[in-house]
Symmetry: C2
């Protein structure tokens, strides 16, 4: 097995934990103990249920064994000999596995379709002190070479994942090469948990996903709707400035549209089932589909007029809400949903404009991502998976040509990129620019795709200089991806503390004493007049509670209005995250906020 | 029959036309000749097809008869006597009608379900000169008392509307009490045709409705999308200022949502058929419906938090795209569609806030309608039709109470209104404020509805001052109605010449001579910098053609840039609709446009 060092360390740590469990529970029966992302687990059948208090005990025992610097010893045994060994040790799960190996040549139940005896009748056994395991290895030489680890949780797990089998007890852990890496990982985990958009979404009243409405369908609450609106306004302005024209198209379309577009042929599994009109109307025996993409609608608008070479490039954009079916198991908050609003754009251009248009879109994407603090983008050239070419529209020549041109553009711009084999859409290759957030995590956002499908399917044309009909080139791109995923990402990226220009509430006025209510209301209306989003807290809570509440709401500026503030000609500001206050004149404060808004800070 | 004067005139004119046809075609067989909106028609079986050239001849003959001042003479005949009369005149259609009357007591085929003989065996016969007709009357006394009329068109029509019968020839006409009324009507018709939004929609490249996409589904082209966006921006700002919070909700929802809301019970015929998830996923055996209304989603957002009496009124708004099934026959451009974006809002309030909230919405509606030049609103109090109470949710007490309160509000405000019996929604009564456009036509727009259904169905609550759970009152309103209908109305209202603030292109720069291209481009970028929507025409067309094109596009300001203009320090402006030009400094012109934009002119 060609496993890398960290995998070997993680797997060896699983053995160490098993050895520790054996010390504490001499009658323990052992299941399996593989590696998982960042760590490992091991399944046990124990005489009693483990409690969270057991974890430190097991941890302590494991570290005692570790200190003894025991060797991982490998033995090759005849399979019957091995069965005898585990019979003596009273390890029924290991015996079951060995019998499977003997019969099918594998322990993987999914591969046990036919009897296929083990060729050489040998299996490997690893011993760590008193703990003996059936194991393919490899392992490190001795416990001294183990890295840093931490046991993280206990869970129940059916033996071999089958609910007809006995429920075993699983201990999870994480392991890294050294303490620094482990600490970094744990810190990142802690930070990521704090920033989880689902958690913050609830705490800050940002959005909900509701069983009554449907899985993967987001209800945007008022506060997050303001964030979205600000982004949409900015997005539209940027598109207008770059020569895009906004269009509005419907959310449903007749089946013949999706037939012609090729979606029914190539994308049906991603579409919601059809609405059958025959149920409704005897005359209209058609089907409608909720749109999974807006492209065919934009193509129809293109086709509503005769187009000349002079009209190109024609750039349409739309914040188009689309619906795609995904198994409910893979859905994740706002980040993986079924209904989302794509920040969609289509560029129709001539061949001589194509490279220039791609470059313009790359510039565009770099600019916009920067505004949201995504200075680093991981760039991928998404190409076909050559092993499953039937997944893609068939035109070998054009695929090769298109993939080559996109690669040349990136090379010429000296943009570092990786190839994403199989990352292409069914209709063409793409350049994907993934944003890296404040925790170093990568988020899907910008995609620039060549559509080699729709122009010919819809027989799109323009009249060229020579009076002849030509087929335009069609580019599809999103800069943000979807409003749902992008704003979900932003919640985590900013940990809910949106920059001033996006903050649902920019200024919170906390009233200390009823007698200043008129003062506070007048102040609020002055903020409103300056188009600053202001909220009053005039509730009966204590001042301490109100201040805590505003701090929890992550409002950028808080003004606590008491006797002193009500007579002062300056404003006293508490900046978000700071315990101190500062004094500033009203005019300066307006100016400060407006400057932040204008500069998207 | 209690028919009013104009109806009697129209019906008598139909007889006059029939008499004229008899003079010109002595063998004409006569079908029926009822009144329709603004006029009448008469169906004939003639030996040859009529051509448009026949209309003036028939008109001339009719006027000759009219001049003779012939009397309309009524006779009561025994039905068999009448049959004999028409047998002698060889009028088979009249005989068929008489036989029906004899047998069923009516000529209406839909009411001929059982044999029901005529009671007194008498029918009335009207004679106008040589023309004799079976007719219930009444008629005017003589042709002298006829008003002004005009024959408008010829069409084919099956006898008794049944395509199995012979196709007869129908002559349509309009008739009014006097020449002035007729002229006014014809002028209005002509103007309305010129303003038809479907015609202008094509000419100005505003929108299309596409067989590929589906009937009643609008594709908004770039120019009309700008109009819509400007209205939406204004709409949102107005809602924010009035304390509304914007929300975004999905376009599809699970069947249990529509079950609970009562839509499946009370509104299913208006909904698109369901999407059956069992087709997709064996686990998820649910149904989804495309939303016909956004209300249930807003209710779910309300319910996502515990609400206190202090939180109320809570006002949610959304530009929500909804889809409703309508027979394709009733669809009409953008004015009657299947997919539309409602400018939706829901107010959740306490009982003591209810009257105040309604008054605020009325103020709101009056303000917004005025901005679009709809100074006159026809107000309706939409109440139940007491004859079909099963169409409405069942709560006699609350219906009476609610209808009374709405009426009191209108009375107190001294707003003139009519009752629209049967105009209520299934869930409650409404105040409808219909806009009257520049041609005096009435358009459905603002509706303020009380929802007596959803709060209880979804068990909505708030915690009142006394700590007890109470049910909030729910109001639903739209100010514009839907973006499709409202913008379609605006196209007709403004005859495509949108005010400056809404114009897709505010300033058109027409280049006379290639050598000034840099000057024109620089000028364009200055307009852009001032956020003024500018378009260049640098095509190879003649200047005359370019000017004509810009005029046809109904752009508010045109600047033709030639040698003189390129060196002048003033701009030379052609205002829309004016043949003259005027000189103005750039700064003044920017100011003028911005003032118009800011004041929504």
């Amino acid at each position: 097995m060609a496993e890398n060092k960290i995998e070997i360390i993680r797997h060896s740590t699983a053995h160490l934990i098993a050895a520790a469990v054996l010390e504490l529970f001499p009658n323990a029966k052992f299941g399996v103990g593989p590696t998982v992302e960042n760590g490992f687990y091991y399944d046990f059948d124990l005489p009693r249920s483990l409690t969270p208090e057991d974890l430190p005990k097991i941890d302590k025992m494991a570290r005692q064994i570790l200190k003894k610097n025991i060797k991982f010893v490998c033995q090759e045994l005849d399979i019957n000999e091995a069965i005898g060994l585990f019979q003596k040790a009273d390890q029924p799960y290991k015996i079951e596995l060995l019998n499977d190996i003997k019969k099918f040549g594998t322990t993987d139940v999914n591969k046990q379709t036919e009897i296929k005896e083990l060729s050489n009748n040998k299996v490997s056994i690893y011993t760590l002190g008193r703990f003996v395991d059936l194991c393919r290895g490899p392992h490190i030489s001795s416990t001294q070479s183990l890295g840093a680890f931490k046991l993280t949780k206990i869970a129940g797990a059916y033996w071999r994942g089958d609910e007809k089998n006995k429920m075993l007890q699983r201990i999870y852990g994480v392991a890294f090469e050294n303490q620094q890496e482990l600490s970094d990982y744990l810190k990142l985990q802690e930070e990521a948990e704090k920033r989880d958009h689902r958690k913050l979404g609830k705490e800050l009243d940002l959005f909900s996903i509701d069983d009554y409405v449907g899985p993967g369908l987001v209800l945007w609450h008022p506060k997050l709707s303001i964030v979205r609106e600000q982004i949409e306004l900015y997005w539209r302005r940027e598109h207008y400035q770059r020569g895009y024209q906004y269009v509005y198209t419907p959310h449903i379309g007749l089946s013949n549209l999706w037939q012609t577009s090729g979606h029914l042929e190539n994308f049906q599994e991603g579409m919601y089932p059809p609405m059958l009109m025959a149920e409704k109307d005897e005359i209209e025996k058609t089907k409608y589909y909720v749109k999974p993409m807006s492209c065919p609608f934009h193509v129809r608008i293109y086709k509503s007029q005769l187009r000349s070479y002079r009209d190109l490039p024609l750039r349409f954009c739309e914040l188009g809400s689309v619906y795609r079916f995904e198994r409910s198991g893979v859905l994740h908050g706002m980040l993986r949903v079924r209904g989302f609003t794509q920040d969609d754009a289509h560029v129709f251009c001539r061949e001589d404009q194509f490279v220039d248009e791609i470059n313009k879109i790359i510039d565009f994407a770099l600019d916009i991502n920067k505004v949201f603090g995504f200075d680093k983008l991981n760039v991928y050239l998404s190409v076909r998976d050559p092993k499953i070419t039937d997944k893609y529209i068939q035109n070998e020549h054009i695929w090769k040509f298109a993939e080559k041109i996109l690669e040349e553009i990136l090379v010429k711009r000296k943009i570092k990129f990786q190839k994403d084999i199989g990352g292409a859409k069914f209709y063409g290759p793409a350049v994907d620019m993934k944003a890296v957030d404040s925790l170093g995590r990568e988020w899907q956002g910008t995609t620039i795709q060549l559509d080699m499908n729709l122009p010919s399917r819809f027989q799109m044309t323009y009249i060229d200089k020579d009076g002849k009909e030509k087929t335009p080139i069609m580019l599809h791109h999103t800069v943000l991806g979807s409003m749902e995923r992008f704003v979900g990402t932003l919640i985590e990226h900013y940990a809910g503390a949106f920059p001033v220009w996006l903050s649902p509430v920019q200024v919170k006025l906390v009233l200390v004493n009823e007698k200043h209510i008129e003062f506070v209301q007048k102040l609020a209306s002055e903020f409103k007049k300056e188009n600053i989003r202001v909220e009053l807290d005039i509730s009966n809570e204590t001042v301490g509670n109100k201040i805590r509440k505003a701090a929890n709401e992550k409002v950028p500026y808080m003004l606590v209005i008491g006797d002193k503030e009500a007579v002062s000609d300056k404003l006293i500001i508490r900046d978000r995250g700071s315990k101190d206050t500062r004094e500033i004149s009203k005019e300066e404060f307006f100016k400060e906020i407006k400057e932040k808004i204008n500069s998207k800070k």
